[in-house]
Amino acid sequence: MPKHDVRLAAMERDTGIRKVNRWTWWASAFGAACSVLIGVGLSHAAASTAASTNTSHPTRQQAHQQDRPRKHRAKHPGGGIIIPAQPPQQSSGGGQVTSGSS
């Protein structure tokens, strides 16, 4: 093969490799972006399902699995069980009222 043909073939080969590399990079970036979007979408869907009032009564196991988000909400007034401004303090003697079951 003449020398200039070899150089031409090598140049075309390098150009092809660069094109493949570029397409591979864009495909990887697109895939990563889609994965993030799908992940965010699924987490919102899961949260919505947990908050929905249109499903059947949860099993005990399901109910306890919901403890984790409740723990987070409870520390923020308005979102969960509200903790008192301060815990009860020890007192001596009798009470002005009695708290017991009725």
Partner: protein
């Protein structure tokens, strides 16, 4: 009647005893009038034993489409559904059929007077329908119950009523207010300097000498749930009023009594009832969400969480 510069009024309501305390002594009559009005309206809205209540009419319409309800009933039901949501369904307002199946379909005094009743249901009751089968459109004030759902708001209504009364009185009366409805306690306004002294024990009607602990609170609410009170017999079997929604049966718990302090009486009662139903898991749950609580085992030993003061003195074991 006064003690410690606090005016007191005691009266019967909802089949239990109510106590009203105010620091502005002349305001006790006004406070009582406000409480009477609120409690009468709440009873008419959500009593399971009154055929003319909104709740009875709604239960009768289960499976027959959405029904219009009053603003008050919508608030009561919203509170019950919130309690169910916050406890993952452990405090569930659809226990009406389970309670009626145990014979608790009339005022509790009549249940007790009837003595040992024959069982109405044979075999396992099974889980209650579940709070997700109650559909509340709060803006439109319309409620739809799926077929077979029977509401009972007993797990939250009394505590919610205490919060409501305390808030309404505080909006019209100066000073501090304490409302106790059968031991479900809500406070509002400026408390006494040393706080409100509350004796915590199994039974709200227990004498002052009963085992327990005295604590003070200055805001929010304090509630106690127990399996030792409101008990009766069905077919020779002792039962109580705290239903485990997972089984439809009275809860079998390692705790006989749980007291909780929270930002409101409703939240305190929600947590104390859920703790009875959750059993051993309640300790970690209360600790993790930071709720001060006192839990009494069947043998009388006491556990506390989240800053509830330990009381190792004589008479502490409830």
């Amino acid at each position: 009647m006064t003690d410690d510069d606090v005016a007191r009024d005691t009266f019967d309501v909802f089949g239990t005893t109510a106590v009203l305390l105010v620091t502005a002594l002349p305001a006790i009559s006004q406070a009582r009038a406000i409480a009477d009005g609120e409690l009468a309206a709440i009873d008419l809205a959500c009593s399971r034993f009154r055929p003319d209540s909104e709740l009875s009419r709604l239960n009768a319409a289960a499976g027959r489409g959405a029904q219009q309800v009053s603003p008050l009933f919508a608030e009561l039901l919203a509170a019950a559904l919130r309690a169910a949501r916050l406890t993952g369904g452990d405090v569930d307002p659809t226990c009406g059929r389970a309670l009626a199946g145990l014979g608790y379909d009339k005022d509790f005094a009549e249940v007790q007077a009837a003595g040992d009743a024959p069982p109405r249901l044979t075999g396992p009751v099974g889980p209650v329908p579940g709070w997700r089968r109650v559909h509340l459109d709060r803006a439109a004030r319309r409620v739809r119950l799926d077929r077979g759902v029977q509401l009972d708001l007993g797990a939250t209504a009394k505590a919610w009523a205490a919060d409501r009364c305390a808030g309404q009185i505080a909006s019209k009366v100066d000073g501090g207010i304490l409302v106790s409805l059968g031991g479900d306690i809500a406070v509002a306004g400026d408390p006494p300097p040393e706080g409100w002294r509350v004796r915590v024990t199994d039974d709200h009607a227990a004498p002052a000498s009963a085992p327990g602990q005295t604590v003070t609170i200055s805001s929010g609410g304090l509630a106690t749930s127990s399996t030792t009170v409101r008990r009766w017999n069905v077919g020779g079997r002792p039962v109580h009023h705290i239903i485990d929604p997972a089984t439809g049966e009275p809860a079998r718990s390692c705790w006989r009594t749980v007291s909780v302090a929270a930002g409101s009486c409703t939240d305190a009662n929600t947590a104390s009832t859920a703790a009875i139903i959750r059993g051993p898991a309640a300790l970690d749950w209360l600790h993790d969400i930071g709720l001060p609580a006192r839990l009494v085992r069947e043998d009388g030993t006491v556990e506390t969480t989240a800053g509830w003061p330990r009381d190792d003195g004589p008479g502490a074991a409830a």
